[in-house]
């Protein structure tokens, strides 16, 4: 069952490379996403047995991360149907710099998308640190071609930075893995195997100094992938240049996968009695990421980069919450779900705005609620959701984290956390609301785009002429984010608690 979960998207991905018929390939994408979600849902009913000598196992954190990934991917594959249909596959003009470019071929795009899902699934079910590393690196490799979908110099630059920075970061994590192997040496030729369960079980016999070195390398390595400052520099470039549905996947699923890797290491640290060492580091990286992100959000002139920096901020919140520990661990788990839903929604809506206005500049885009009534409302709602306003789920999770900081008497952390959240709220609010209101500006550059967009949209039956495939997925994601703010279903509550328990003080 676990093997099926991993192999289904992998095999479908390979098949997609060779399927010539566009309709069949798109159907394959959707069917695979649905199959994957169904299998994931089955795992909620009955936890599948371990596979491959306990190397693959779905524990509570794994199931949580897997469900987020699978659900988001399903929404994105629905969105992709509309996206792939309306993409212009010939040579066309870039709207920022005016040169001509083409897209990558659709089969390789769909294929990489599915393989990417398979690798992220492998990350969530891996119990062996070596295999986990292999899977995380493979997600980088599978997603690089996705970022280079629009074949022009900017996306090329973004892809180059992405693959270099992440590969180097992940290489450091590999060194961390080997340090962990040294730390788990018992005698002349005897090792504790690098399986999570055995490391946690025999954590007391780990060599402390080597374990600490391993922790630092693993944190920095996987932290690069997760987008923690100061290793986050690839993130805004990759998110702004890739197609919006890929950005949504990177932000809502890939960053989580890297976070899960750090989470696993912290599990071992807690068991080894070094939990506080790990928490202090996580807290520092978390606060720094939040602060750096806030500084770039306030003066951001590109709305996709704005969302990317918001991801850095939220990864910072997750790291900070893990750093606080206690009740905040639960907050981190809840926040992770909320962030993925909300950010997925925002990136998809950003894609709708981008395809209508043909500009990523926050100054050029005005009057979104007037031109695109549904996307416009979703855009504003998404802003409130991502900044943690009630009644959205993020409000709850951010509140849990704040309360935990205050309960622990860490006033300085709590004040800094609140201050940064306020700065982000004001900074993002000014930009997003300005985009939503007013009338679109007819400048020489964007007028043809606007007219073309309006003509295309007039053919659709929905208000404002939007296409259903482009707004239903983000709407559903937004609805889920709203629901989590009002009511967390008991099974989810249980899994969140179980996951938080894994890094709880023993």
């Amino acid at each position: 069952m676990i093997l099926t979960l991993v192999l289904l998207p992998l095999l479908a991905g390979l098949a997609a490379f060779f399927l010539r018929h566009d309709g069949a390939r798109r159907a394959l994408l959707l069917l695979t996403a649905m199959g994957h979600s169904c299998l994931t849902a089955l795992a909620w009913v009955q936890r599948p047995p371990a596979a491959l000598d306990d190397w693959l196992l779905l524990d509570a954190p794994g199931l949580l991360f897997l469900s987020v990934t699978s659900g988001l991917f399903l929404m994105i594959s629905i969105y992709a149907l509309g996206y792939l249909r309306r993409e212009d596959w010939g040579r066309r003009e870039d709207f920022e710099e005016g040169f001509l470019f083409t897209n990558a071929r659709e089969p390789s795009f769909t294929g990489c998308l599915l393989i990417f899902l398979g690798m992220m699934t492998l990350v969530t079910v891996s119990q062996h640190f070596g295999l986990l590393w292999v899977a995380v690196e493979a997600t980088t490799l599978a997603s690089a071609p996705l970022i280079y979908f629009h074949r022009h110099s900017r996306s090329l630059e973004a892809t180059w930075k992405y693959i270099m920075i992440c590969s180097v970061g992940i290489a450091l994590a590999l060194l961390g893995n080997f340090f962990l192997a040294v730390a788990s040496t018992l005698g002349e030729r005897e090792h504790v195997p690098l399986l999570l369960a055995s490391l946690v079980g025999r954590a007391q016999s780990l060599h402390v100094l080597w374990f600490k070195a391993a922790f630092i390398f693993l944190l920095v390595g996987y932290g690069t992938k997760m987008g923690l400052a100061p290793m986050h520099t690839w993130l805004p470039d990759a998110h702004s240049e890739s197609p919006s549905l890929v950005s949504a996947l990177l932000s809502g699923a890939l960053l989580n996968c890297a976070f899960l890797a750090i989470f696993r290491v912290q599990q071992v640290a807690v068991a080894a009695g070094e939990g506080q060492f790990g928490r202090d580091l996580l807290l520092g990286f978390g606060l720094l990421s939040m602060a750096v992100a806030a500084a770039f959000i306030v003066r951001q002139a590109n709305f996709k980069r704005l969302l990317a920096y918001s991801s850095v901020e939220h990864m910072g919140i997750l790291s900070l919450a893990m750093g606080l520990g206690g009740k905040a661990d639960f907050g981190a788990m809840l926040h992770l779900v909320n962030h993925s839903l909300t950010k997925g929604m925002l990136f998809l809506v950003a894609g709708n705005i981008l395809s209508f206005y043909r500009s990523k500049s926050t100054a050029d885009v005005q009057g979104v609620t007037r031109m695109l009534p549904i996307s416009g409302v979703l855009w504003v709602a998404g802003f409130f959701a991502i900044t943690g306003s009630p009644p959205f789920g993020t409000f709850m999770s951010e509140l849990v984290i704040l309360k935990s900081a205050l309960d622990q008497g860490r006033t300085v952390v709590a004040v800094a956390y609140l201050a940064i959240l306020c700065v982000v709220f004001v900074g993002m609010g000014a930009i997003v609301l300005r985009m939503a209101q007013g009338m679109p500006r007819e400048s020489a550059e964007n007028s043809s785009g606007l007219r073309e967009g309006a003509a295309r949209l007039a053919l659709s039956p929905w208000p404002g002429g939007e296409s259903g495939l482009s707004f239903f997925p983000p709407m559903l994601l937004g609805a889920a984010a709203l629901l989590l703010g009002l009511y967390v279903p008991p099974p989810l509550w249980r899994i969140l608690g179980e996951a938080a328990q894994a890094v709880g003080v023993q």
Binding site: L131, T140, S153, L156, F178, A181, T185, E188
Partner: protein, 214 residues
């Protein structure tokens, strides 16, 4: 055995210094390929004479990937890009070698701070891993050409791999193969990216990839 291992480690260290002092890209690729071949011999010697089929197979595979496939791929990229020298690196070659010697001293010192819990075949393997990692990172930040940066990544990975080969001998084969496959795919994709960069922009200077910023 220990003597042979030490010799191997010293040779790998020398290849790093050679890399830091070379401006010709072809020579750089060959040096890194040679380093890869030396590296593949490490598990044979570190295993204290136990030559199991598994170790031999792993060594041969490593040798093929790092000593044959990578240089072939990178030389091909070099030909299409039609670039021969690393012109005006951010840090000059003489300074680079001096930095290299400094890094070597630093890694020996750091290696002493981390005493191994088990007696090892060679006391130089931990410093070697750290040295290669630091040289790789240094090459990554001090050179302009995309190709040299890939070499920096490879050197860094070589060092980490050497550490793994020498100590994590009990690592399951699946993980070793997965790691090798990932590195192979990474270099392969980087090679393709350089090819595209060259076709799109007519250069492979990474410092000129600077359109995206805040």
């Amino acid at each position: 055995m220990a003597l042979w291992l030490d010799t191997l480690v010293v040779l790998i260290i020398l290849t790093n210094l050679k890399l830091l002092g070379s401006s010709r890209l072809r020579a750089c690729i060959q040096v890194v390929a040679f380093q890869g071949i030396l590296l593949s011999l490490v598990p044979m010697l570190a295993g204290a004479g136990h030559l199991t089929p598994r170790i031999v197979a792993l060594a041969l595979l490593t040798m093929t990937v790092k000593g044959v496939i990578f240089p072939w791929l990178l030389l091909r990229v070099l030909r299409t890009a039609n670039v021969h020298r690393e012109m005006e690196p951010f840090v000059s070659y003489t300074t680079s070698i001096l930095v290299g010697v400094g890094l070597l001293a630093a890694s020996v010192w750091m290696g002493r701070q981390l005493p191994l819990p088990v007696p090892s075949q060679s006391p130089l393997v931990v410093p070697l891993a750290l040295f290669n990692t630091m040289v790789g990172l240094f090459v990554l930040v001090s050179r302009r050409k995309a190709l040299t940066q890939v070499l920096g990544y490879l050197v860094m990975e070589n060092g980490i791999y050497a550490f793994g080969l020498a100590f994590a001998l009990e690592e399951p084969l699946l993980v070793e193969l997965g790691t090798l496959l990932d590195v192979f795919m990474a270099v392969f994709i980087m090679g393709i990216m350089i090819f595209h960069i060259n076709r799109e922009l007519d250069h492979i200077d990474t410092d000129r990839l600077s359109v995206l910023k805040d």
